[in-house]
């Protein structure tokens, strides 16, 4: 069975094609992507992001088919991100999926973006039943599977961790190319002085907005006086934010009794986060599963993978139900494909 996946919920437009063989193996045939990059100090606005996606999507479809060396007729289902995400970009991509479904006469499968990340991570790493830390520009969730749902044990109660990193990068003028978080990570490697920041763990939930406000004032004050460097602040911010994430992940492991951890989402490609998590997981005698930027960061393949699993259990989204939704909880999805 061959599935094609369309993802465009934020500033990346990605198309992936994969095949589930008769033996149950998943083979990656194509995974292509374009990223909408804004000037330093600016975020991406929904309207402009949608324009970007519309400009690239058709060329990407051709590219994906060429890389995969398949014809549209060989495809079994067309998967697209139903949500959560920014409305205009989501809609621009869903429109293409719908149109191709009519032209190619193939069924549609609407996929929850978070479920895409989780299923992609499980497929690539082979993790069986891990505690999932899903960290990106829009999401911070600690997830465990139980009784047919991916249940959210902990999450950010205000802004997402990636959003906190991105906004800090903009405050200190770091470029958005290739990604603001990536540039924070590089600066952090050169940081020496640890600046104490607020620490916002609330049970298994976390809060980041206070930290952002605090570091903003530190940047305003101490940075100008030359008491700290941008590198120091990046370093301190990462150490603090990631310690919080590792802590709530560990708490979820202890609570659920699991020894595996899977990190997914764009922030999951941060090597320092992976190191810290590895250290905690090792101390508990468990295993860490992580992926690199090809699979961590939003991509079409993850939508194809989750969609293919859904399609195999008989789930198809009828054309009239292919609307998008900005708000779509991870635990809203009934996970028919797992025991």
């Amino acid at each position: 069975m061959i599935a094609i996946g369309f993802e465009g919920s934020a500033n990346k437009i990605g198309i992936g094609i994969l095949e589930h063989t008769a033996s149950g193996e998943a083979v990656v045939l194509a995974n292509v992507r374009r990223t909408y990059i804004t000037p330093p100090g600016q975020g991406f606005l929904p309207k402009d992001t949608a324009v970007h996606h519309r400009q690239h999507v058709l060329a990407l479809v051709k590219e994906a088919l060429a890389v995969a060396k398949i014809k549209p007729s060989q495809i079994d289902c067309i998967c697209f991100t139903k949500g959560p995400g920014m409305a205009a970009p989501l809609i621009s991509v869903a429109l293409v999926a719908r149109t191709l479904s009519l032209i190619w006469k193939k069924p549609l499968v609407g996929v929850n973006h978070a479920i895409g990340h989780i299923e992609m991570g499980r497929m690539i790493t082979g993790a069986q039943n891990p505690i999932v830390l899903y960290v990106s520009g829009g999401n911070t969730q600690v997830i465990a599977y139980s009784e047919k749902r991916y249940r959210i044990f902990g999450e950010a109660i205000d802004i997402a961790v990636g959003n906190c990193l991105d906004r800090f990068a903009r405050i200190v003028g770091l470029p958005n190319d290739p990604a603001p978080g990536y540039n924070v990570e590089q600066c952090a490697k050169r940081g020496k002085t640890f600046v104490e920041l607020p620490y916002g763990v609330k049970g298994m939930d976390v809060s980041f907005s206070g930290i952002l406000t605090f570091i903003e004032s530190v940047a305003e004050d101490k940075l100008k006086k030359g008491l700290v460097t941008v590198d120091d602040l990046c370093y301190s911010l990462q150490e603090t934010l990631f310690a919080m994430l590792v802590e709530i992940t560990e708490r979820a492991m202890a609570h659920v009794g699991s020894s595996e951890v899977l990190i997914v989402g764009g922030v999951g490609s941060n090597v320092r986060l992976q190191e810290m998590m590895e250290s905690m997981v090792k101390d508990r005698g468990g295993r860490l599963f992580a992926t690199d930027e090809r699979f961590c960061i939003d991509n079409g393949l993850m939508i194809a993978q989750a969609g293919a699993l859904m399609y195999a259990t008989g789930i198809v989204t009828e054309l009239e139900n292919t609307n998008c939704t900005q708000r779509y909880r991870t635990d809203d999805v009934y996970v028919a494909w797992r025991e």
Partner: protein, 233 residues
Amino acid sequence: MATVVPVKQGAEARLLDIDFGGRPAFAKQRFKKAYRHPVLDERLTARRVTQEARTMLRLRRAGIDAPALFLLDTANSIIYVERIEGDTVRDVLRGGVDDAQFEAIARAIGADLAKIHDMDLIHGDLTTSNMMLRHGTRKLVWIDFGLSYTSTLAEDKGVDLYVLERAIQSTHPNQAKAMVRHAGRAWRGTLLTPWNKFDGIIRQYTADSKNAQPVIRKFEEVRLRGRKRTAFG
């Protein structure tokens, strides 16, 4: 203090079964976290050890049941506390309780929590694993105060309630169904969602707390932030 038997290792502390001058006790030792920056680690551990001891004392003085504090060893990050003979509320709920039993537990939680918040104490880690029922009396005991702190803000109290609601929803997703079976009233199934069960706690809290209104308003605000916040990326 004589024999030392390790019992269990939590996320950040090790519990040792000990005998403290003839009384059954736990030695709870918080250990270093290698993944954390040493400055941050030291600060967090020191704060949590003292905060835990402080909160236990305050609660007991206010007549809310918590383990008795025997000794505080800040140098080694160990507290020596009474070993509670009982079951966690988590295990009790998972074991299956009938409507009346559940209602009684929910009311006890709501009543105590109102008192705790009225003292401007925030638990910080409210889960059903951090509440116990004593063997024999079946009275509610609160444990694990490492994340507790003092605050007068309705926001902090609202978040405390939100954390508890989330913990109940994620830990006991099928509790409602199990209860329906137990009570043999399948037709009431739709009423017995985890949310409605949590309602019992909130009802009692609202009735008892002197400051319920702004806290509940904040709680509802926080809940909207979590559940309906736009999420992408």
